[in-house]
């Protein structure tokens, strides 16, 4: 331990190689770009989170405790746009993926390092445009930009918000492209496809969706812009257009986008469960191929967002069947992770708590998805709080838990320092409890009929809303604690050593933090992923 500590202070690594601002802003090092993303999305997360806190405060009272409905509409629009496009979608791919994809396959960097830096600048430009929309008066389209409301009826900053999302989309496309090429072409000798960590399978599947889906979003937002600027009328029924067409286009991207958010988390969870149970993942190839199956099916289910939109009954039936199909690969993953624990040697560091939290909350989110795929039940709960609860279980309970777990797992590698495990476990427990208290009551609210996006509501819904708001305040505390101890860890944390968790994988064979060039000499892979049975790894 002591040796490692001295070592990391003096040894050249990617962090201490150059301290100048310029060296960060012009870096092409995938690890530094990962950290640029980490800083950016953390900022966006807390901006989007503040909006959520204000919303929950307002909903303490049926007539709105805080603000007018028009202001509330801007809050949920801002919350959705920022959280979806500027936090969730870039989260694991752009932060952990950037750092880990080359390290896990034994490469020096991504295939296109400068393109990678460009992706970050494009992302920041998109983020700046979205923030401009927020500070200059806000936008109240919801994150869904439904027409003809967004095109003909709203006078808020729709253009800059839509442009921000449009621009950020290119960052997502380029990152996906970079990962796909890197995984195909730059694997170290011996790193066959079926020796890859499952995180890479998940990132690969995600990248495919990013590349194929995001252009459709770009086209859709372009049409919205053309409609606002020149009244071309594609979506305007007053001149023969079709507002429902927008929904088809929007969800053709935005449903797969849900899997852009959740698949990488599934990849992270596979890594964490394997490491902390000290076991090979049960049914490796089933877990790997279920990621690809989810990616493919995700493109065929968009119509379940439109069961009550007036689309034909037959379209509804087909989309219902296809939506149920997505449940199968998701269930396969959950069962395999659970089975991995069997006869393991399980320890409970903070990352593992997040991973177990993920499995539980994702299971609940996934199962409540069945309600929404069921035509007769969706007819009742569509656009209610049931839907809000469902997708927060997937995106926050699932995707954010996975992100937090991954961040805590690879933090010692990324920063080279440890954080206090006790505080981290406490934060994980607070987040788990606060999350459930926030969102579980919303399932009941939804079945009772409370519509989403309501600034005010009938008084009989108040008790459940107060519970939810109380949960949100606990959840907020849970997210602030890691911010404090991770910053402390960055400055004062004890040195981590190369492999504090005794984990398998090429990234753990390097010192922490790794050198700029990642590996001293190109590694040669001779074993499967998760070869925990092989031989004892020397611990930090």
């Amino acid at each position: 331990m002591a040796l490692a500590a001295v070592d990391s202070e003096t040894r050249r690594n990617y962090l201490n190689a150059d301290y100048s601002i310029k060296s960060w802003l012009l870096t092409t090092d995938h690890k530094r770009i990962g950290l640029l993303y980490l800083a950016s999305i953390t900022l966006f997360f807390f901006v989007g989170g503040s909006a959520a806190v204000l919303m929950r405060l307002n909903l303490l009272e049926p007539n709105g405790a805080l603000i007018e409905p028009a202001a509330y509409n801007k809050l949920f629009s801002m919350h959705g746009i920022i959280m979806v496009f500027f936090f969730m979608i870039p989260s694991i791919p752009a932060v952990l993926g950037n750092f880990l994809v080359p390290m896990m396959i034994g490469a020096r960097d991504l295939a296109f390092p400068r393109l990678n830096l460009l992706s970050w600048y494009i992302f920041m430009l998109g983020g700046a445009l979205a923030m401009y929309a927020v500070v200059s008066g806000g936008v109240d389209t919801g994150w869904t930009f439904y027409t003809p409301l967004s095109t003909t009826y709203l006078n808020t900053h729709v253009m800059s918000a839509a442009l921000g999302v449009f621009v950020a989309g290119f960052s997502s496309i380029l990152t996906g492209l970079n990962f796909v090429v890197t995984i195909h072409k730059m694997r170290a000798p011996g790193m066959t496809w079926f020796r890859m960590p499952l995180f890479l399978w998940a990132i690969y599947a995600t990248s495919i969706i990013q590349i194929l889906g995001t252009p459709v979003l770009a086209v859709t937002l372009t049409l919205v812009a053309l409609e606002r600027l020149f009244h071309v009328g594609v979506f305007d029924p007053a001149v023969g257009g079709d507002p429902i067409l927008f929904q088809h286009l929007f969800w053709f991207y935005s449903h797969p986008a849900v899997y852009i958010m959740i698949l990488p988390s599934m990849g992270v969870v596979s890594e964490l469960v394997a490491c902390f149970a000290k076991k090979r993942i049960f049914g490796y190839s089933f877990v790997a191929f279920s990621s690809l199956a989810i990616a493919v099916i995700s493109f065929l289910v968009w119509g379940h967002h439109m069961f009550v939109s007036g689309q034909s009954i037959y379209a509804g039936i087909i989309f219902s069947a296809l939506s149920f199909a997505v449940a199968i690969p998701s269930a396969i993953k959950v069962f395999n992770w659970t089975a991995t624990l069997y006869k393991g040697s399980i320890s409970y560091h903070a990352p593992m708590l997040y991973a177990l939290g993920f499995i539980g909350l994702f299971t609940m989110g996934g199962l409540t998805g069945l309600f929404l795929a069921t035509l007769a039940v969706d007819t009742h709960v569509h656009d209610t709080y049931f839907v809000v609860a469902h997708f927060h279980y997937i995106m926050v309970g699932g995707a954010v838990m996975g992100y937090m777990g991954g961040l805590h797992f690879w933090w010692p590698k990324i920063i080279g320092r440890l954080y206090p495990d006790g505080w981290a476990r406490l934060a994980a427990a607070i987040i788990f409890f606060g999350f459930n208290l926030t969102f579980f009551p919303q399932y009941i609210l939804g079945y009772l009929g409370m519509p989403r996006r309501y600034a005010v509501y009938p008084p009989e819904f108040q008790v459940l809303n107060v519970m939810s708001s109380a949960g949100a305040s606990i959840l907020a505390v849970g997210y602030l604690i890691p911010l404090v101890y991770l910053i402390w860890s960055m400055l004062r944390g004890p040195a981590a050593g190369p492999n504090p968790w005794g984990a398998k994988g090429l990234e753990w064979t390097t010192p922490s933090p790794p050198a700029t060039e990642n590996f001293e000499s190109p590694p040669v892979v001779t074993e499967e992923a998760y070869a925990y049975g092989a031989q004892e790894v020397s611990v930090g």
Partner: protein, 313 residues
């Protein structure tokens, strides 16, 4: 409405009970699998927790029979849920032939309702108990959504087209109408009430609010005012007598059914579909008739086909 801590809204329509039964079934499946996963994980993490640094895990590749089992069981279950949910949905989507039709126009941020007898109301819908009611709905501006949780019904209300839903209330009382599709600043205030009454009370209410003319009469008056008869009554344009819900041959060789959507389109965009054998001479009435007046005109055209009086699609 209900005391204690309700977990579902009142069951106030013929549809509600069936939806709730399926919901309970899904909840049972949800609870079973959540508990299964939760307790299995709990058992494993307690039983196999690392007691010493030397404790070795037993490495297991996988188990094909297990993979097949936990693929097949969920697959079987979702097939059951799909079939149940879909058959119920189809049943719930088809209005009985005897349903009374009421017309709904949504606009930012109010509901305008029109009974066939001509009575109009705003944000309130009076209906008789135990009688099927069909709502034919459209919007003047953005997309809205007409939802009555106590009836378990919901449908988007879309500008430029007619959507419909139906229900049969099973108990008298007052129930929420919510707009469920975000529609701008006062979306959360676009609420109303369904007031379900005993048939006699309903008749009384209806006669109290009657303002002289039914929807058909209002439509006939419009037909006159807009001088539709100068062409449609003289052979210059297709006659409208008996045309409703009948196939119509177009100049491009195709055939359409003269339903509500077609009639609406023909008034607003006459050049979209030209009937074979007639010149495209009709001017557009877009901007001259409101959504409510359009519905009255359609009601009038329907009344010209007596045998189709009640039919919808």
């Amino acid at each position: 409405m209900s005391q204690g801590f309700p977990l579902r809204p009142e069951q106030a329509s013929t549809i509600a009970r069936g939806v709730d039964h399926l919901y309970y079934f899904l909840t049972a499946i949800d609870l079973f699998f959540t508990a299964l996963i939760f307790f299995t994980i709990l058992a494993f993490v307690l039983r196999y927790r690392r007691r010493s640094e030397k404790q070795q895990a037993t490495q297991i590749e996988g188990h094909i029979p297990l993979e097949i089992i936990w693929t097949a069981i969920p697959l079987g279950l979702v097939v059951i849920i799909f079939l149940w949910g879909t058959s119920l949905f189809i049943r719930n989507s088809r209005p009985p032939a005897a349903a009374t039709e009421i017309f709904v126009v949504g606009k930012q941020w109010m509901w305008k309702l029109q009974h066939p007898e001509g009575v109009e109301e705003i944000n309130e819908l009076h209906v008789p108990v135990n009688q099927p009611i069909k709502l034919t709905m459209t919007s003047e501006d953005v997309i809205h959504d007409f939802s009555v949780p106590a009836f378990r019904v919901k449908k988007d209300v879309v500008p430029g087209m007619y959507t419909s839903l139906w229900f049969e209330a099973t108990k008298t009382g007052t129930f929420h109408i919510f707009c469920d599709q975000y529609c701008g600043a006062n979306h959360a205030l676009m609420r109303g009430e369904v007031i379900v009454m005993e048939p006699t009370a309903y008749e009384q209410w209806l006669s109290g609010g009657r303002r002289g003319e039914s929807m058909v009469q209002a439509g006939a008056k419009l037909y006159d005012q807009l001088s539709c008869i100068t062409c449609h009554g003289t052979g210059k344009a297709p006659p409208l007598l008996g045309i409703y819900n009948k196939p119509v041959k177009l100049t491009n060789g195709s055939t359409v059914v003269a339903d509500d959507a077609y009639l609406r389109e023909s008034v607003l965009y006459p050049s979209a579909k030209i009937v074979a054998g007639y010149p495209p001479i009709m001017p557009t009435y877009k901007g001259q008739v409101t959504e409510e007046q359009l519905l009255q005109l359609i009601a009038y055209i329907r009344s010209l086909s007596p045998q189709e009086g009640k039919a919808s699609k």
